[in-house]
């Protein structure tokens, strides 16, 4: 692993963004992102992405198991999903992952954002949950506000 970098939010959205150059082939990285057995070593045993509307991530890093839904998946190296801690569905966020082949392997970039209301509402509909908390869990775009504040 090399060249890890965490960067600041974009001009429009409050987001966390990180890139990492992996010494692995594109196909191997894609498999690690989009298959249960590929996810298990880093997202936790029992991780599941087979059901687009019922993703499961034990997430040993935080110790808070997460659920999620696929927003978009493109074999060209684009994966996007919304997820939330099982114990706090209001904390729904959006994750966009992009892979890019490079000379030394594969570059992965991850962007996690607080979703705007429309996305949160769509995710909530998929969860068949009440709409009352959907609005609360939505969030947005504040990096530029933070700059000005």
């Amino acid at each position: 692993m090399e060249n890890a970098s965490a960067t600041t939010p974009s001009a429009d959205l409050p987001e966390a963004h990180i890139e990492l150059d992996l010494a692995a082939d594109f196909d191997d990285v894609w498999h690690a992102l989009t298959s249960d057995d590929g996810l298990a070593p880093w997202m936790g045993e029992g991780a599941s992405i087979d059901e687009p509307d019922d993703l499961r991530f034990p997430d040993p890093v935080t110790g808070r198991p997460r659920r999620g839904i696929i927003d978009n998946i493109d074999p060209n190296g684009r994966l996007a999903f919304s997820w939330w801690p099982e114990d706090d569905p209001e904390l729904i966020t959006h994750v966009a992952i992009a892979l890019q082949p490079i000379d030394t392997g594969t570059r992965i970039s991850v962007t996690e954002t607080l979703p705007a209301a429309d996305r949160a509402l769509r995710a909530t509909a998929s969860m068949s949950a009440s709409a009352s908390w959907a609005w609360r869990c939505a969030a947005l775009s504040v990096s530029h506000l933070a700059v000005h504040a």
Binding site: I18, A24, V29, A32, W42, S141
Partner: protein, 105 residues
């Protein structure tokens, strides 16, 4: 103390973000003044200001017959904290991913 969920909900709406940004950049303003600046009804502005105030993102002060609102920038600390935490979490996850790929090699 500001509840992060309230802040995230408050900023989920584009008009509220616009109101907050206007207050942060241009300084204190009344609902009537904001309505004129943003070209929306005073009633709508008042509703959004109430939500911003409830989330700790705006303070109000009565001056004569007017109520003036100002942005409370410290409320955005919750957002900064969220970004930093998510950043750390992904660094750890990607390190684990890299390690698992190394094991395959």
């Amino acid at each position: 103390m500001t509840d992060p969920s309230d802040v995230f909900a408050a900023i989920a709406d584009g008009t509220r973000r616009q109101i907050f940004e206007t207050l942060a950049i241009s300084g204190p303003a009344t609902a009537t003044g904001l309505a004129g600046d943003l070209n929306i009804t005073r009633q709508a502005v008042a509703k959004h200001l109430a939500i911003l105030a409830a989330a700790g993102m705006a303070n109000s002060e009565r001056i004569g017959r007017e109520t003036r609102f100002e942005a409370e920038p410290t409320s955005l600390k919750a957002v900064e904290t969220w970004i930093a935490q998510v950043d750390r979490d992904w660094q750890h996850r990607l390190a684990a991913l890299a390690s698992s790929l190394d094991d395959l090699a």
